[in-house]
Amino acid sequence: MKRFTDLYSRLDSTTKTNEKIAAMVDYFNGAPAADAAWAIYFLSGRRPKRLIQSRRLREWAAALTDIPDWLLVECHSAVGDSAETAALLLPAAAHSSDLPLHQWLETRILPLRELDDEQMKQQVLAWWATLDGMERFVLNKLLTGSFRVGVSQRLLTRALAQQSGIDEATVAHRLMGHWEPTPDFVAALLSHETTDADVSRPYPFFLAYALEETPVVLGSVEEWLVEWKWDGIRAQLVRRHGQSFLWSRGEELVSDRYPEVIAAAEALPDGTVLDGELLAWADGKVLPFAQLQRRIGRKSIGKKLLRDVPVLLLCYDLLEWQGKDVRHQSQWWRRERLAELLAAVDRPHLPLSEIVESDSWEALATIREESRDRLVEGFMLKRKSSPYRVGRRRGDWWKWKIDPYTIDAVLIYAQRGSGRRASLYSDYTFAVWDEGELVPFAKAYSGLTDAEMRRVDNFVRRNTRERFGPVRSVTPKLVFELAFENIQRSNRHKSGIAVRFPRILRWREDKQIEEADTLDTIKAMLP
């Protein structure tokens, strides 16, 4: 555990990529495979099902140190993290012990599930007494399953590749899907053999960056494949050995949630992997994302929901064909094979993504204006000659999104953030005018620079009107320009509207609150 805690400290104390990789390489060089397996498990963002609610941890720590509830709320709000709050509240450890990471997990942490609440508490309190501050924090993170350490999948992949001498793409692929954190897994992951047995394993997704300038810089339009950019859920459909697996981009297996797609997948030949977008679709057109949201997170899908919100997989890429990995083939080649394949299976739940034909970027720009009416976010641009790459890369795939909606709104509530923004008032609620009153209509958490955020934080502290637990209402004085992607009617919101992906575009220090927009202006934007 000490070795793993040291790794955590090193990763946490630098923002430099090379130092993070060096820290991981050092760790993997020294750690036994049984520990390395768990380290990889956590660093790749996996976690055991949450054992203990984070709230419970901080409550136990508060009880142990005789701290009243209201004071605990203040502490938590200053730290922004329950596991850390609990670790900080406790006095220094009386004595110290060191147990390897895998033993912590396998003989201590995972068996907690078998215990009742009181036993669990006694157990955790006893562990706390033997750990120093940082180890205690890491333990708490493991217990609550909220272990994040600022290491991307790509960084972990690079560290493992560097340490083992296996190429990055292979490591990335072997890290995908479901696996158990065992020494055998580590051996297979870092093996120079090329047998990969897991039938369900998806490929790493290729992700696009947003195009911030005119597509003219991309060269001739003929070199590019242009498709609508849909607002759905990115997914990979794997068909092997008569079985089908649907993976979300978060590497979550979501087969059970979309039975109609899985049923259609039966028609695919073995050795096929498709990349596409899950969309709610009825009467020949896409439904708003809010409809699709009703299907997300539901493990069991009722008949009514299945009928009201039918879902399909709009397919746009082919990663495995006739049992072979074809990611190295050109975009155009893959597209042609995909079109042939989908035409042959002919399933309405597996349609082919439409290509938008045009002979110039100018003409495309005109067509792009239809995006809002079509309920899409703009275009995807894919270089016809490019392979299917791993992770987010510049150059071959671009999102050419339409400009967001914008509105000037007034800051009325603020709350302290978490993580990097802990203890800063960085989470805001904004209002617009409605018949002479300010009506809250959106929350936003991002978009300001650190310096601006500190200034707003200062403003909030000096202009607080009322406190409601962690939330403060502030004197309406500051105006911000907000951007959002989409707008819908909503009964759940006081304003009667709901907006998607609201964020702060800029602080309008030149504007008085009287100049902020009205609810009517926003309603006029409704499609």
């Binding site: 730290v79 900080l88 802990a422 203890s423 800063l424 500190r454 200034r455 200062n458």
Partner: protein, 339 residues
């Protein structure tokens, strides 16, 4: 009935003695607890400070400022009000000001800490009826680690940087924290260099009789200095500036109480955070309040409502907040303010 010390728009005022403590506007008579800029402001017609504070206060207030000094523990009378200064353990020359009138005793503690600090006289609890306390770190999550352990980490970091060929740049407030860092680290590891702001303060502190390990002003460093072996002490204002370029590859660190909280560490985007504060932690605050025996506590700057409420509810002490503009000009206090 009016209180012995009350806030007005110039500062904390004693009507009986007709003087102010740490006023933020110019006044005719200012009693000043310590030389940080949020407590010690120029423009007043007369200043009374602790003896050991003279060189730094002179620097802060100007050569012409009418400053009178007083040794710790020596009582004097101002308009029939009995005054004495007592060590606050915050920085060199920092004082708690004891005010006694007709049998009633108040202590304005300014900023203080109870952790050991070789750069200043240690905090002494002064029995009083009313105690005015800061609350910069007034939450039970703030529990300072042993100083020796922290300096052990700093030394290790410095040695590791030397091995990696990187200059070690530590950001610390020029007055107080910088000197504490210098006296805490192991000067045999390598040469120490200081930024101009720190160099100025070091000179003032030396005039006050404090001996520091040898350091060189960065601008006077010999050509071809091997920065990779050096520890460089700079104020936070130097962070992210071109001034740092001369050192080549660097590792940066920040010495502050805020570094205890991970979110704060990450927000500073320094390579290392060392938990070193010149303010009292939660437990220290509670111990200090208890040691004064005060039946009333007034809380200024920091987590004011939290400390006041806790003292009322958990300790049964009459406690409330006092709205002052302190806590806007030193590293620890500015974590949530502008930099």
């Amino acid at each position: 009935m009016s209180l012995l010390l009350e806030l007005n728009d110039h500062g904390l005022y004693c009507a009986a003695g007709d003087f102010y403590i740490d006023p933020w506007q110019p006044v005719h008579r200012a009693l000043v607890t310590h030389a940080h800029a949020d407590h010690s402001r120029p423009g007043s017609a007369h200043y009374l400070i602790a003896e050991a504070s003279l060189p730094v206060s002179r620097w802060r207030l100007g050569a012409e400022a009418p400053i009178e000094t007083i040794p710790y523990h020596k009582p004097i009378e101002i308009n029939g009000v009995r005054i004495s200064y007592h060590p606050a353990g915050h920085i060199i020359g920092s004082a708690q000001i004891r005010v006694e009138y007709r049998g009633e005793v108040w202590v304005a503690s300014g900023d203080y800490k109870i952790a050991p600090d070789p750069t200043c006289a240690p905090f002494e609890p002064v029995p009083c009826h009313t105690f005015i306390t800061e609350a910069t770190f007034g939450l039970p999550i703030y529990r300072w680690p042993e100083e020796a352990a922290v300096f052990g980490e700093v030394n290790d970091w410095w040695r590791q940087n030397q091995a990696d060929g990187k200059a070690s740049v530590i950001f610390a407030y020029a007055l107080g924290k910088a000197q504490r860092v210098m006296t805490g680290i192991d000067p045999t590891i390598g040469p120490i260099f200081v930024h101009g702001a720190v160099n100025n303060m070091n000179r003032m502190v030396a005039q006050a009789g404090l001996s520091l390990p040898h350091s060189t002003y960065v601008n006077e460093a010999p050509a071809k200095t091997d920065w990779s072996q050096a520890l460089i002490i700079a104020p936070t204002s130097a962070r992210g500036t071109p001034w740092l370029r001369r050192f080549g590859a660097i590792s940066t660190a920040f010495a502050s109480g805020w570094m205890l909280v991970r979110g704060q560490r990450r927000r500073r985007s320094v390579d290392r955070g060392f938990v070193l504060s010149d303010h009292v932690d939660w437990e220290g605050l509670m111990l200090s309040v208890a040691a004064t025996g005060a039946e009333r506590v007034l809380v200024t700057h920091g987590n004011v409502p939290v400390v006041a409420r806790y003292l009322r509810e958990a300790r049964g002490i009459e406690a409330y907040g006092l709205a002052t503009p302190y806590g806007t000009d030193d590293d620890d206090a500015t974590a949530e303010e502008s930099e």
